[in-house]
Every structure is written in C-alpha cells, then in structure tokens.
C-alpha cells in the first residue's frame, strides 16, 4: 500500500518526535534526531517495523526526533499512519 495523503503527528518538544508522511513512488525514510549517532539505527528499525505492520510499501516518512523513547516514536508513527487512513494488519 502507498501513502496517498499527507499526514502529521507529534510535536517538536523535548522527548517527543514529529512524524510527517508524504505520498511518494518509493518507500523512503528520513530521520533527523538529536540522538542520531546513539540511536539512529534503533529509530530506523522501529519505523521500518511499523511500516511493515501497516503494510506501507511506498511513501516518504520524515522523522524529526527530539530524543523520544521508542514507545513515543511508535505512537507518533502509528498516529500519523492512521491519520493517513492506514490500519494495522490483523
């Protein structure tokens, strides 16, 4: 499934993360994080797993992370995906 509509979730406050979804032909993830060196890989894996769970195969996912914990990043990605009309696979 492709991302067909823009969606936004989260904030840029400390310990939060903002997720933006944009329609695109291919799947790509852009991560900007104040802890990218320390947790960049963890964040990317987390986002990829979420996209898989929601069966997203194409779209641009932009993450602007202010040091959010995994459960917060997951919540913001899920919120954005649902706002874009996506549902998790059963």
């Amino acid at each position: 499934m492709k991302i067909t509509q823009r969606a936004l979730a989260g904030t840029v406050e400390s310990s939060d993360c903002m997720v933006m979804l944009l329609p695109a032909e291919e799947l790509s993830i852009e991560i900007d994080s104040i802890v990218k060196q320390q947790y960049g890989h963890v964040i990317e894996k987390l986002v990829r797993d979420m996209l898989k769970k929601f069966d997203v195969t194409a779209g641009l996912v932009k993450i602007q992370d202010q040091g959010a914990l995994d459960c917060v990043i997951e919540a913001r990605v899920e919120t954005a995906l649902r706002r874009a009309g996506k549902e998790a696979k059963a």
């Binding site: 979730a9 406050e13 310990s15 939060d16 995994d70 459960c71 899920e78 919120t79």
Partner: protein, 293 residues
C-alpha cells in the same frame, strides 16, 4: 491507598515518562480536558504505548476517558483496556445507566482480549448536578465501581454558581457524594484545589475534605502532591493510638475479658476498624518510602 491522585496530560511524553516519580499514590493520565480535540487520537495511542512499555513502579495508573457525549470514549476504551490500566475514570457521569453503558463496553473488550471480565475498575467522575443527586446509584451501579470522584469546576458551572476558594457552594455536593460512597461501601475522592500557588489554601481545603470523609484528593500540579499526601496520611498520634487499641485488645484476650476500654472509653467495632485502617495505611506509606534498593 490513594491519598493523592495527580492529573497528567495524556499527550505530553516528557511528563508521562516521569509520572511515577512525582510522589502521587495514583496518576491520572488524562485523555479528556488536557488534550486538544484534534489530538485525541494521538493521546490515546501515546497513553496506550506508555501502559504497554512503562513500569510506573508503585504508582497506580488511572486513565481518564472522554465523556459519553463525545464520540471518543469507545475508541479510548478500545485502545486502553487491553493494556490493563488499574482504573478507568469516566467523565460527566450522571446516572447508573451511564456507568452500566461503559461497563458493558469494557466487558466486551475484556472478553475480546481474553481478559478476566470485571478486571478493570471504574472511578466515575461526578461533575453535574444530576450526577450529585444520583451519586448513590452511581456508586452502586456496577461491581467495577471502586470509588467515586467529585469534580467541582464543571459542577459549579452546572449549578449556575461561582466557584470560590472557600467552597461554600459545593459543601452540599461534597457531603452528598461522601455519604453516597460510604453507603455503597466504596472510597470517595475530592476535587482538586485549583490555585497551585496557594499552599496554605490547599492544606486547608484538604483538611476540610478529610474532615468530611473523603479518602483522598486529586492534584492538578505535582507541587500539590506533598501537601495532599501529608494531610491524608495518618498522624503520629493516630498511629500510636491505633497501636494501643490493639495492645489492649490483646491484653483483654489474655485476661479473658470480652470488652476492653482504652483511656476510659469502651473499644467497639468502629474504633477497631478505624485503628486497623490507620495501621494498614501507615504500613503502606512506610513501604512506599523504603521501596528502594
């Protein structure tokens, strides 16, 4: 034991992360008033994930859901219930029917997720004139109801009166809900004190509530927690007295006496019950302080 219940906004990761260190016996993760209408979805997902992953060591978690009129409450429950919050706080409860509607929905979700049906407790928030008048029926509406909680901000609006610090306007309502809860054999919690900079006012208001029979009080700011905890903790004198009550009972048993007296006063069942509650609470507080390594 819930001396203090601290409201925390449900959509603020930074605050939720530290919910368990703020000293409150319970935290109320709020999906209602503290969350903007267009962020309800985000908040319930965030609170759900927090329940899923965080420990909240030694701190009870209550989730306040949106009112029946909102069209959000069922979605709140769908997300939250499977992750086992200790208590759900439904808002603007006006009748026993309201409670039963919510309880039935929770039962469906519990069943769907193979949870023990009835596991999730309810603490209805009474904040309308109708709710106050129906408070006994609300307290008795369902086995899930573990306590009721009065919210005087919305209530005064409904009563068409001004909310004052002295609180004369809500004296009847507070007394009424205490009586209703006690008649139903459950706990009852008092409205928060809204001036976060008036510690003396908070202390007085808490002492007044304790005097009416409330089990504890809600806080809207972490700064209020210590004062509320202090007021609703048993005093040193009360603990000493309670210990003496059990001492004389023991002595009486040894001497084969049926009735015993302390300081010239007969010890009857209400005194024993109260002494037991005091000691149980003192023990819980002691545990809370020494929960560390």
């Amino acid at each position: 034991m819930r001396r203090s219940m601290l409201f925390l906004p449900g959509n603020t990761p930074n605050i939720i992360m530290n919910a368990d260190v703020l000293g409150a016996d319970s935290v109320i993760l709020d999906l209602e008033d503290a969350v903007a209408p267009n962020q309800k979805d985000a908040a319930r997902i965030l609170v759900r994930n927090a329940l899923k992953t965080m420990d909240f060591a030694g701190c009870e978690v209550i989730v306040r859901i949106n009112p029946l009129s909102s069209g959000e409450w069922e979605a709140d429950l769908e997300e939250i219930i499977p992750w086992g919050p200790d208590v759900i706080m439904p808002t603007k409860i006006g009748s026993s029917q309201d409670v039963q509607t919510i309880s039935a929905c929770i039962s469906r979700i519990e069943e769907k997720h193979h949870m023990e049906v009835g596991h999730t407790k309810l603490m209805p928030l009474i904040e309308t004139a109708r709710g106050v008048e129906n408070s006994f029926h609300i307290a008795e509406a369902d086995p899930r109801v573990c306590a009721i909680f009065i919210g005087c901000e919305d209530l005064t609006a409904d009563l068409c009166c001004e909310r004052t610090k002295e609180g004369h306007e809500v004296f009847y309502a507070r007394s009424r809900v205490v009586c209703a809860a006690r008649a139903a054999g459950i706990d009852v919690y008092d409205t928060p004190f809204t001036d976060i900079n008036d510690d003396e006012g908070l202390r007085k208001d808490s002492e007044f509530a304790k005097g009416l029979g409330f089990s504890g009080k809600a806080c809207i700011n972490p700064r209020q927690v210590d004062t509320v905890n202090a007021v609703f903790s048993p005093s040193e004198e009360a603990i000493t007295y309670a210990k003496r009550v059990f001492q004389v009972i023991e002595e009486g048993k040894r001497m084969g006496r049926g009735a015993v007296a302390l300081d010239g006063k007969m010890i009857d069942k209400p005194i024993v019950d109260r002494a037991r509650r005091v000691l149980e609470m003192a023990e819980l507080i002691q545990k809370k302080v020494t929960v560390h390594e």
